[in-house]
């Protein structure tokens, strides 16, 4: 099986703090892979390293055997990595459809001159982009809401729109950051089905940060556990559930470890 993304001894430091501590991960293509860990374990930092917002202080990140370390976020998006955010970050005063069109940015080519003179090429491209954006809206279940301003969408719809925007770049790897945060059990179940559908129908690889253990255990094929930036366990859901180090990381063992845990991600 091909590897979608691999980190080798990934290291990220903030001052004296080791946010990511020599993490080795191999994420196979077409899998649903979860990264879990207590608050401040370095999960979002891990995402920020992969997507180019942070430059790692050591180690390497290989995306389909190609290093992405040192590339700017937009270059990395072009290569096929897209992400969503823990707290929804839509272009909130733009319309739903425009959000998706922005997501397509890296796949469109119109330059200033194309835009001003509306060349046949640009016109065709734009038309195609709009119809593609519409079918993407239908795919995530937001058909007909294209002209709504994004901030007016209900919460669940905003989550879906964020995913649709990420999908618009036709990524090979999708990073989801707590996609079910703030959802009720029913919505959470829908989201789980939706994530599976993404993987199966679009044939992409999904990396997931999630706190809801039902979601993590329900849809992940493999799970990695981070604690204080270091990987403390990796395996199938069943293996992780039985791992004493994971239990300790989440629940703590005594006073000493709980006080140690107060720090920011």
């Amino acid at each position: 099986m091909t590897t979608a993304i691999e980190t080798r001894q990934l290291l990220k430091r903030f001052g004296g703090l080791l946010a990511i501590d020599r993490v080795d991960l191999v994420i196979p293509e077409h899998s649903i892979f979860s990264v879990i860990g207590p608050n401040g374990a370095g999960k979002t930092t891990f995402y920020n390293c992969i997507t180019g917002f942070y430059t790692p202080d050591g180690g390497d990140i290989l995306f389909f055997d190609e290093s992405v370390v040192g590339l700017t976020p937009d270059r990395i998006t072009r290569l096929g990595i897209a992400r969503t955010y823990q707290n929804i970050r839509l272009f909130s005063s733009m319309s739903t459809l425009e959000n998706i069109l922005v997501g397509q940015h890296s796949r469109l080519h119109a330059n200033l001159a194309d835009a001003v003179f509306r060349t046949p090429r640009a016109r065709a491209e734009e038309k195609h982009a709009v119809s593609e954006a519409r079918s993407l809206l239908t795919f995530v279940g937001l058909a007909g809401l294209g002209d709504q301003v994004a901030r007016n969408l209900p919460y669940g719809a905003q989550r879906r729109l964020e995913i649709a925007r990420a999908l618009a770049s036709k990524p090979k790897l999708l990073l989801l950051d707590e996609p079910t945060a703030g959802m009720n059990p029913h919505e959470t179940r829908d989201m789980m089905d939706f994530i599976r559908k993404l993987r199966d129908e679009l044939e992409i690889t999904i990396l997931l940060i999630e706190h809801d253990m039902r979601v993590v255990m329900g849809i992940s094929e493999r799970i990695a556990v981070l604690d204080y930036g270091a990987k403390i366990a990796e395996g199938s859901p069943a293996e992780i559930q039985g791992n004493p180090r994971v239990v300790e990381a989440y629940l703590g063992r005594g006073d000493a470890s709980t006080s140690r845990r107060r720090r920011k991600e």
């Binding site: 272009f91 909130s92 809401l145």
Partner: protein
């Protein structure tokens, strides 16, 4: 009861201070003068035993009193909305208002009567103005008069406010108009006209006809004003791209205006370089130079955001302004005295008159609107807006923010260059004073008043800020005051500008062949 008293008294104090301030700066006299011109109530005033000026002042004071009462009696969350509560508060507001104003008028009147020359302290308080302020009475009766007038007006204002100003009533009114407007939009005939492909041409035809005919009937002065408004529309549209769309707060925007103006000036003028180029040949140079300057100034500030960007660009603007004045640049730019004898455009061997300049500026505005619209609705425009909304997320969506920002800076600068070249050519002169910080601030104000990111907003803003002061020439001395007041009122009443942006409808479009979701289509069709 205690809260009522406090609220009413507070309103009275606020209005008292405002009114005293207006009296001390002499604004009351100007306002009275304006009112007399507006209503010509000379005979009515005389029948009441007053001069026309006093009568107008009385009206002005009455309006202030009504406003104080209205404000004092306004609906408050922690107070009952009953007649007694409203009237107690508004009457009290009026009384406090009247008392404060009365005391000041008494002091001024007494000092004046005792031979103190008030003009030494407050230049606006001429003896005639003081007499008007006292309504021809002795100081003490005047105080009583003010107290009674403003108390009565306060009560009236409170009652008026309760009858007219209540949320539900206003809401019903607004709702009624909205519904009427919508039903109008749904009329088959209106839909036919709006949906017809020719209606757009007809709309533009009317606008173009207006642009062609209007300058012919206006005099030289108004054509000049119209031209100035047009140039500000150009500048506003340029800054709109940088600030409104891309969200880059640029306070040194005047630099590009200056570059456009000076390029034309130096290339065409006999002094200081004797180049004597033809105006038309300089146009591309001016625009391209401004665009390049936009990129050059953009590069160092690429990584800055928000406040830092504003401060650094402010610095750039100042550098340009100071350079233009400096001795080092004098041999090159003419220094503080500027460049005169700037060559204007000619067509078929004839120079341009004011009317022609209005045409030329209008043509440029139309061109810039066209370009802006095309850009706004393209991949580039979306990238700008995405960057404005959230720069990091824009990057994560594959947008190269460095090139996208530079594109915004250079496009905005090119528009400013066009504005600058027209400005210099029309005035046949350009100097450092034309390119100071105030230009940047004025253009930004045009954007804020009109509505960020909105093309009709920029036009409305330019008319409001550059046209209105010309119309209100009488207010000359208070223009800055009126300017500030207008901005404050605007920000309260229409925080998104006179004409805020509306999102383009892309989802369901008649001319698109892609079959949309039928259910959604039927529900949104009406909005088209």
């Amino acid at each position: 009861m205690k809260t009522r008293i406090r609220n009413g008294a507070n309103a009275g104090i606020v209005f008292g201070i405002v009114t005293i301030f207006l009296i001390l700066i002499g604004f009351t006299g100007t306002a009275a003068e304006l009112i007399s011109k507006l209503i010509h109530a000379g005979s009515l005033a005389r029948s009441l035993g007053m001069t026309e000026g006093m009568f107008s002042l009385l009206l002005f004071m009455a309006v202030l009193g009504i406003l104080a009462g209205w404000y004092g009696g306004r609906q408050l969350r922690d107070l009952p909305d009953t007649w007694s509560s409203v009237l107690v508060r508004s009457t009290l507001a009026g009384a406090v208002h009247g008392l404060l104003v009365g005391i000041v008028v008494y002091v001024i009147g007494t000092l004046n009567a005792n031979g103190v020359k008030m003009t030494t302290y407050l230049p606006q308080l001429l003896p005639a103005a003081i007499k008007q302020l006292l309504f021809g009475m002795e100081p003490f009766p005047a105080v009583v008069f003010y107290l009674i007038l403003l108390t009565v007006m306060g009560t009236a204002g409170g009652a008026l406010g309760r009858v007219l100003g209540r949320g539900a009533w206003r809401h019903r009114f607004a709702e009624g108009w909205r519904r009427r407007w919508e039903s109008l939009q749904h009329l088959p005939s209106v839909q036919w006209v709006a949906g017809h492909r020719w209606s757009r041409f007809a709309f533009f035809g009317i606008i173009i006809l207006l642009i062609v005919l209007l300058p012919l009937v206006l005099g030289q002065y108004w054509n000049y004003t119209l031209g100035t408004i047009g140039i500000y529309v150009l500048l506003g549209l340029g800054l709109n791209i940088v600030v409104g769309l891309a969200g880059l707060l640029d306070l040194g925007y005047v630099a590009f205006f200056a570059i456009g103006a000076y390029t034309v000036a130096l290339l065409t003028a006999p002094q200081p370089h004797q180049l004597n180029w033809n105006f038309w040949a300089t146009v591309p140079f001016a625009i391209i130079l401004a665009a390049i300057a936009g990129i050059l100034l953009g590069i160092p500030v690429l990584r800055m955001r928000g406040d830092y960007l504003a401060i650094v660009t402010l610095g750039f603007g100042q550098i340009i302004a100071i350079l233009l004045k400096s001795d080092i640049m004098t041999p090159f730019t003419g220094g503080p005295k500027g460049v005169s004898g700037v060559g204007g455009p000619t067509l078929f061997g004839r120079g341009f008159t004011d009317v022609h300049f209005v045409y030329l500026i209008a043509l440029s505005v139309l061109l810039v609107i066209f370009v802006t619209r095309r850009l706004q609705n393209s991949r580039i425009g979306r990238a700008w807006e995405a960057m404005r909304e959230d720069e990091n997320v824009a990057r994560a969506n594959g947008i190269n923010v460095l090139t996208t920002k530079l594109m915004a800076f250079s496009t905005g600068a090119a528009f400013a260059g066009l504005g600058g070249l027209l400005f210099a050519a029309r005035n046949q002169f350009t100097g450092p004073e034309d390119h100071n910080l105030m230009v940047s601030i004025n253009v930004l104000a045009v954007l804020i008043v009109g509505g960020m990111g909105s093309i009709p907003g920029v036009i409305a803003g330019a008319f409001a800020l550059k046209g209105l002061p010309e119309v209100l020439r009488e207010l000359e001395d208070y223009r800055v005051l009126a300017f500030g007041a207008l901005l404050v009122v605007m920000m309260i009443l229409r925080p998104n500008g006179l004409w805020p942006t509306s999102r383009r409808k892309l989802d369901i479009k008649a001319e698109d062949n892609a079959p949309p979701d039928p259910e959604a289509a039927s529900s949104t069709k009406g909005a088209q």
